[in-house]
């Protein structure tokens, strides 16, 4: 699905990532961990075509990212749901409209009406916030809305970059449960986090690989959880 082969990424004269090889197989669950500034977000951005490697190859659903046009990248992003720590919404649209945005931009807005959207809103616990505007949401609600927006087009892969960074422990567990559910539905999940308790909490529910970035390289942090 998503494959990085001997990838390096440099910015401003310095190398952030070096000789990274990673394969996200269908239905797999990965954690990406490491200290702040280690390059977790950069690696995530390489995984959905927001950045191109300075060396090596990134293959997105079989195609080399370097050969993809901006329109091709847009199509890739419909297969990759992304959740950032600092999630951005369109503040002039309601929460429901923001969640339905991936359907709107891909010409499938008619699918945003009816049971599926209600079910999704209920799944992330935002049914009673459907008509609210994004600035009215709490941190946890914003993350859940972002997760709903990321999965509404039923992507093959979900990338979550520090999804629990701005929420309390209870909310982080709730978000984690949602991501585990997605994985059980067959989605590939990659979570970047420096919160080890989150990784430990996953242990009981799903088999996950923990990858650690240190000294610009990726390392297997230990046995599968």
């Amino acid at each position: 699905m998503i494959e990085l082969e001997n990838v390096a990424y440099s910015y401003g004269g310095g190398e952030l990532l070096s000789d990274i090889s990673l394969k996200l197989a269908p239905g797999s669950f990965h954690f990406l961990t490491g200290p702040s500034g280690a390059g977790k977000t950069t690696l995530m951005r390489l995984c959905y075509g927001a950045l191109l490697p300075t060396a090596g190859h990134v293959r997105l659903f079989g195609a080399d990212a370097r050969g993809l046009s901006r329109d091709d990248i847009a199509v890739v992003r419909r297969r990759v749901g992304v959740v950032h720590q600092d999630v951005q919404f369109l503040n002039h649209l309601s929460v429901t409209e923001n969640i339905a945005l991936p359907l709107t931009v891909s010409g499938r807005h008619s699918e945003a009406k009816g049971g599926d959207l209600d079910e999704l809103m209920s799944w992330v616990g935002l049914t009673n916030r459907a008509d609210a505007m994004p600035p009215e949401l709490s941190g946890g609600e914003r993350q859940r809305a972002a997760l709903a927006r990321a999965v509404i087009v039923s992507p093959d892969v979900v990338l979550a970059d520090e999804p629990t960074g701005n929420v309390d422990w209870e909310m982080s567990q709730r978000l984690l449960r949602l991501l585990i559910e997605l994985n059980k539905m067959g989605k590939t999940v990659l979570i970047a986090t420096h919160d080890l308790s989150l990784i430990r909490a996953t242990k009981a529910h799903v088999q996950a690989r923990v990858l650690r970035i240190a000294n610009r390289r990726i390392q297997l942090a230990g046995a599968d959880l």
Partner: protein, 301 residues
């Protein structure tokens, strides 16, 4: 980012949901509509000026190009003989379709505005006038002058070129000025729309980032902006052009005494021309916004 027939259809048909992804811009939107309306209003007048000048140049050119006048300035007892001699020469002159001496009544009518209707031509040394109409090949005025000088010493040929050329040139220049004004107005609309679109795109960089994150193509994002600015320019220009046409309609109608000024307006099918102004404004806005969107989206990539 490519634009094909499907894209054009999408632009015309519109998409309520796509229109909503770009935040409303309020006051600046009204400024764009107002500027487009003002430009269209001015364009209607430039068009009216250009078309009226064109009509004038054509009329002057047609009326004067194929005619000439011969004045017979001779003592009264020789005037008739010299007139007959001049007419005989004209009968054999190549390029002359017809020639006739003006009657006393006709000459009196020509002088009436200055000397009154009761003027006695016999009391004044008024030359006899011969009206010459040329055929489509035209005559050789220099050759005719030489023949008249040899055989009719009192004849003076005036082929109107002395004062016709500057008039026709002035009207043609006025017409050109009108078209140059329309071109400048079009360029100003393009510049204004480009500035407004650039500002809107820059102000919405965050929106564009979110749209890209959720899988929007550049074409989709660009269309949302293009449609917005094209419709603003189209609606503003339609209002401005309608007001301009109304103003032209209310101008005094053409009259002999009013001359060129009262003839400033549209005649017949020329009334259809101002309808092109909003369409032109829409096309200009489309092209300007498309260019601005392509540039900005490339820079933001």
């Amino acid at each position: 980012m490519k634009f094909d027939l499907a894209t054009l259809r999408a632009l015309i048909a519109g998409d309520h949901h796509a229109d909503r992804v770009v935040p409303p811009s309020g006051f600046t939107a009204q400024l764009t509509v107002f500027a487009a309306a003002a430009m269209a209003f001015l364009a209607v007048f430039a068009l009216a000026l250009s078309l009226a000048a064109g009509r004038l140049a054509e009329r002057w050119g047609e009326e004067l190009a194929r005619s000439a006048t011969i004045r017979i300035v001779a003592p009264l007892d020789q005037r008739a003989a010299q007139t007959d001699a001049a007419l005989r020469i004209l009968e054999t002159t190549k390029g002359v379709a017809s020639a006739r001496a003006l009657s006393d009544a006709e000459q009196q009518a020509l002088l009436a505005p200055w000397f009154g209707a009761d003027l006695a031509l016999d009391s004044l040394p008024v030359p006899r006038l011969i009206e010459v109409i040329e055929d489509s090949d035209g005559m050789d005025p220099a050759g005719l002058r030489l023949r008249l000088a040899a055989e009719v010493p009192g004849a003076v040929l005036d082929d109107h070129s002395r004062w016709r050329a500057p008039l026709v040139q002035a009207a043609s220049r006025l017409r050109l000025l009108g078209w140059v004004s329309i071109a400048l107005i079009t360029t100003a609309v393009a510049a204004m729309i480009t500035l407004a679109a650039n500002a809107a795109l820059a102000a919405n960089a965050q929106v564009i980032a979110v749209l890209r994150l959720v899988g929007a193509t550049d074409e989709y994002i660009a269309l949302a902006f293009i449609r917005r600015f094209t419709l603003r320019a189209l609606s503003g220009a339609a209002g401005g052009a309608a007001l301009g046409m109304l103003a032209v309609l209310l101008l005094p109608s053409a009259s002999e005494t009013g001359g060129f000024l009262t003839g400033l307006g549209f005649k017949g099918a020329h009334w259809l021309w101002p309808i092109c102004i909003p369409i032109l404004a829409g096309i200009v806005a489309f092209a300007a916004t498309r260019a601005a969107a392509r540039r900005t989206l490339r820079e933001l990539a």
